[in-house]
Symmetry: C2
Subunit: 241 residues, 2 copies
Amino acid sequence: MKRWTTGEVAKQRNISVRTLRYYDQINLLNPSFRDDNGRRYYSEDDLFQLEKIIILKSLSLPLEDIRHVLEKLSYKQVLISHYNYLQEQLSKLQTSISNTASLINIINLEESLSWKHVSELVQNSPTSSKKWIEYFREDEIAFIQKAVPNLSNNDEKTQQYISLLQRIESCIKNNIKPESEEGFKIATQLIELSDESFQGDTNLMDKFWEIRKQPAGETGLYPISEEVLDFVERCIDNVTT
Amino acid sequence: MKRWTTGEVAKQRNISVRTLRYYDQINLLNPSFRDDNGRRYYSEDDLFQLEKIIILKSLSLPLEDIRHVLEKLSYKQVLISHYNYLQEQLSKLQTSISNTASLINIINLEESLSWKHVSELVQNSPTSSKKWIEYFREDEIAFIQKAVPNLSNNDEKTQQYISLLQRIESCIKNNIKPESEEGFKIATQLIELSDESFQGDTNLMDKFWEIRKQPAGETGLYPISEEVLDFVERCIDNVTT
DNA sequence: GCTTGCAGGTGACGTAACGTTATCTAATAT
DNA sequence: ATATTAGATAACGTTACGTCACCTGCAAGC
């Protein structure tokens, strides 16, 4: 009967020698043989057991629960409650991801963290209750949530909106007019993006932009300054007329 | 200037007193005042700092990184690499969830863990390479992956398929024929389910069932025994003719 | 005056699953 | 004879607190 040392098993199953020794220590997997020098030797059965452990680890199951499953101690219950636990983790993680994306996008827009804006936008905070929702019908809300970028996303469109906002801010800072060359470019790109987002539904688009112009406190949306909104309006007017 | 004790802050911000003491200990948030007895008193500024910490915690950001962000030490880089880290966690978690669902469904089908089936189905294992994919066109694959239940899901349809399989096994065990009352019920439910899954595309449905009949080793799908497949065919024949 | 209770405090240990030293030993290769 | 390799043990470090055990100061009730 063939036997394998720790190093061999580790290489073969792509885990560390330390891990094998640890599993021995907590009696999750004791090698069948030990020689006089204390060296561990794993049998074929041991390897099979290890494979089960590795499969169960791929469920992110804690070692203690793995032991229960292997010993067939109410393993169905263990797995079901583990499944529920994982679902909880998933929703936490999704919140973390969207909050992180929001923060990164805000930083891109502000160059330094404005905690007022952050706490308004991060879900966690009590002030963020997505008030803009009140202005739309249910089907419109579903559409906007899917199609229109939002700071908690990290997709291409969101990044394009952010870059346009940055360019506008830069124009304002450097006193470049909305009627200039750059203003023209910004307007055309903005129109294109907006068209893509709303997929041609100009009614909805107009409605959204109207609401966008209201004070941020009323809508719960990321605050865009008067100046920027003004710039947008003027450069778009300039292109469409 | 109002000051708050640990207990008051803890209640107000819904964290534990221990947490506040810990943040003091690691110098993440030191209260501005300490009285002669060592009691901590938090100022308004301290509370604001705490709010920032709580927001950053909602990103699942480690405390050490929170410190960096608060001290403005390359916070943008920190957040971006954290975002990438979270995305990795997300994909791991999703694997764990689908593997866990597979295991639970297999247990429901087998009453005791058959490690052969498990290791065939859990992604991690090298044998599972989704060979059934080879039999279909790309659009068909996309459709099947969305609409047709798969052991790594936990939706209603999957559960219904599993319960039907269990009923069939029970019929076979108890020598109940496919032409019986129960066989008739099973067949009608199976047809209904199948119709829902394939949304009326009977061509694709037939193709899928043909492939389902092949040995599991060829397809990489969960193995359904000859007996069960035979039962299915006979009871459906009985209903449709 | 004494007890009781409460709200605060300081250690110190426990957690999960190993990674990472540091140090030792036995066997093999040069 | 010596250098390298592969094995072993022991012990600390990691994260963000929870959970004791034990101590203090202060107010209320007896």
